[in-house]
């Protein structure tokens, strides 16, 4: 146990920091991963990849670095420190890529993995539907095999990045007669195909991060099925396992920024802050606990190949903490809080999505109860 950088990690951090300083375009500094600047972001992501800073934990045979998860953590810290955007292909790197590595054919691996690293392919996720949110097994988007081609009809929703995506990991119903969990097929869909229409969804913040995807007679070659026909459920579980394994660390970075902001705000409103000292400290403590727990989980992942059970707690606790932090900030603002300050008002509204997206808190509690704590199924 040592929370300091090892010699290898310190060297990696040093090179990375110098590289970012030399290569980050001024126009991208402090912009976050805003997709309005798609081309500069793609270029930045490709440059990161060319320099060897993308896919640090991916196996070398797939173009990755074959390194430990500590390096990924250092990458996120250094990007945050320099106010530099992350790689634009979050879903490709964290979800599609790892799932293709596990279930993909050689042709699929060689077609997609390198372009994901190089930001030549941006991916989105087509899992949720209007009638299938937490209950993923009841998706209705229909895929029918005609000759060597699947024809897909249906609607997906809450799909981040769909408006800029080149590819989609899509869960479809290929056999409505099959027993539950057995009639699903997971496929890789070219978003530029005929019949794919993306419509932005406006959120309570007023912006449109998410999209609806409408699929009408979309033709998908049979060769684009990931895993076996009818075994889409198992493939989807691989995707979600990877999402949860590495999501925690990225999330704590977002909370870190908000806690920093909360402390600054408390300094500007000492009267109000004095009444809320305990609550402010509680959220700072929660942030440290989440970061440290992410380290612990990544350490277990490196040691055993499986994320530890503690990782599943992170998203749940993070979402509730972020909501409390944004609320505390608004208490500190007092009456000024009726005027949109351009930051906390947005953060407070955006944080309401945190307990819904990537698994609602209710579903996450069920998952922890059943899969981590071994309690009987609640349904």
């Amino acid at each position: 146990m040592d929370l300091r950088d090892s010699a290898e990690e310190a060297a990696f951090r040093g090179h990375l920091r110098a590289w970012i300083a030399a290569n980050l375009p001024a126009s991208l500094r402090g912009q976050g991963t805003r997709t309005e600047q798609l081309e500069p972001l793609r270029k930045w992501s490709a440059a990161l990849s060319k320099a060897g800073y993308v896919g640090l934990t991916w196996p070398q045979e797939y173009g990755g670095g074959g390194g430990s998860h500590a390096l990924d953590a250092i990458l996120l810290q250094e990007l945050a420190r320099a106010d530099a955007p992350q790689h634009v292909g979050a879903i490709g790197l964290g979800m599609a890529g790892p799932t293709i590595m596990v279930h993909g054919t050689e042709a699929q691996k060689s077609q997609h993995l390198r372009p994901i690293l190089d930001a030549e392919e941006i991916w989105c996720q087509g899992f949720s539907e209007p009638g299938a949110g937490s209950d993923l097994a009841s998706v209705r988007t229909r895929s029918e095999l005609r000759g060597d081609t699947f024809v897909v009809n249906g609607q997906k929703v809450w799909s981040s990045y769909a408006h800029i995506a080149d590819w989609c990991i899509l869960v479809t119903l290929s056999d409505p007669a099959a027993p539950r969990y057995h009639g699903l097929t997971y496929m890789l869909v070219d978003m530029h195909s005929k019949g794919v229409e993306v419509r932005p969804l406006r959120q309570i913040t007023g912006e449109a991060d998410f999209n609806e995807i409408f699929l009408t007679e979309v033709e998908v070659p049979r060769a684009n099925v990931l895993g076996e026909i009818g075994e889409g459920w198992q493939v989807a579980m691989t995707t979600l396992l990877h999402e949860r394994a590495t999501l925690g660390f990225a999330l704590t970075g977002l909370l870190d920024a908000n806690v920093q902001g909360l402390l600054r705000l408390a300094g500007e409103h000492p009267g109000e802050a004095n009444e809320l000292l305990g609550e402010i400290a509680r959220e700072w403590i929660q942030l440290q606990a989440l970061q440290l727990t992410a380290y612990r989980s990544l350490g277990e992942l490196d040691r055993t190949g499986m994320p530890g059970p503690e990782g599943s707690a992170i998203k749940l606790a993070w979402s509730e903490s972020n909501q409390r932090v944004t609320k505390l900030a608004r208490f500190l603002l007092g009456e000024e809080g009726v005027v949109d300050d351009g930051f906390w008002n947005y953060q407070q509204l955006r944080s309401r999505g945190n307990t819904i997206e990537a698994g609602t808190s209710e579903i996450l509690r069920n998952i922890i109860a059943e899969r981590v704590l071994g309690l009987p199924r609640s349904r």
Binding site: R13, A73, G278, A281, W284, A313, L373, P376
Partner: protein
């Protein structure tokens, strides 16, 4: 960066757990808690023989020359079994004030200690020890363990109001204040580790119960009103565990963030343990409310931990003032050294 235990450390934990489960099952702890003596002094030479009393004592003084990380593992396991005895007071509290021959005696099992830093005159396990480290003015003294017994809320951790005030001077002036501060932070960290052990054991009992207890024809753990509070306890315990290990690591390498880490760990772990006990008593229904169940002893230890060495609210307010005084700068908020 590696926040996992080594294989030797994991073995130490397993060894401690099986030793304590064999020697201090709940029935034995109940018996000791209700006995006049309050503990079994014959166990102490065994602990010395296992090497557990000299873990961080240098090898030339008869110890193992290891770090606080190994002691942290033992403290957590002692907490898990509700061990009645002066391990916490000696290793988790008085230890920083001791040196040379005193450490050799601790490692050999021939001297036990407790301490009093003057928040109150209440001393844990005073009746089980040979000497007490006392902060008096700007001096640290080694005084005789004399005083008036008080009724502790936790009968596995007895309290005495110290009356002695004279003894050998261990340190004076700024060094005494520094040692006292090191003792405070070590105590907060050790109590956080104990709390994690307490909470984990109680959570396991809760899970076992709701998996097997049936009502309305189903195990009660299948009802979300029962399972979700246990999930919240699992989450709180895992987060508190991370903080407790962080503070333990800070002690082991003398990291300057120990002050923040210990306050964070103590407040979060004490509350996690109290919540764990309250939720698990609740899911046990009437049985959880009986004297016969071991749960009340764990609850009392959790409450004891919550109050001794600074309440969670005190730790949080102090921590917030520190963070705000530091302007909440990024460096201040980083949980660990991150390579500059």
């Amino acid at each position: 960066m590696d926040f996992t235990f080594s294989s030797e450390q994991r073995e130490l934990r397993e060894q401690a757990r099986s030793f304590l489960e064999a020697h201090f099952p709940p029935s034995r702890v109940a018996q000791l808690a209700e006995s006049e003596a309050g503990w079994d002094p014959d166990i102490w030479p065994e602990l010395a023989q296992l090497g557990w009393l000299g873990v961080s004592v240098p090898e030339d003084l008869g110890g193992a020359g290891l770090t606080f990380i190994e002691e942290a593992i033992l403290i957590e396991e002692f907490g898990r079994s509700l061990f009645p005895g002066p391990y916490l007071s000696t290793i988790g509290f008085a230890r920083p004030a001791l040196s040379g021959n005193q450490l050799a005696q601790v490692a050999a099992g021939s001297r036990r200690w407790s301490a009093c830093l003057g928040e109150s005159n209440l001393v844990p396990d005073l009746a089980f020890v040979d000497q007490v480290v006392l902060l008096r003015g700007d001096q640290l003294l080694a005084v005789a363990p004399e005083g008036r017994p008080a009724t502790s809320i936790d009968s596995t951790r007895r309290m005495v109001a110290l009356s002695s005030s004279q003894g050998e001077v261990l340190a004076s002036g700024p060094p005494a204040q520094e040692l006292a501060q090191a003792m405070r932070l070590r105590l907060a960290t050790a109590l956080a580790l104990e709390a994690v052990g307490v909470a984990q054991r109680v959570l396991e009992w809760g899970l076992e119960h709701v998996r097997t207890r049936e009502q309305f024809g189903r195990p009660i753990g299948s009802y979300q009103a029962v399972s979700h509070p246990l999930v919240d306890t699992f989450v709180e315990v895992e987060l508190a565990r991370s903080l407790a290990y962080w503070a333990a690591w800070c002690i082991s390498v003398d990291d300057p963030q120990l002050g923040l880490a210990a306050a964070a760990a103590k407040s979060a772990a004490a509350e996690a343990a109290v919540h764990a006990c309250e939720r698990v008593i609740q899911v046990h229904g009437g049985m959880g409310f009986t004297w016969e169940s071991p749960l009340h002893r764990y609850y009392k230890r959790a409450l004891w931990i919550e109050h001794f060495g600074g309440s969670p609210g005190q730790h949080r307010r102090r921590l917030a003032s520190q963070l705000l005084a530091g302007g909440g700068s990024t460096a201040e908020s980083q949980p660990a050294h991150r390579g500059g």
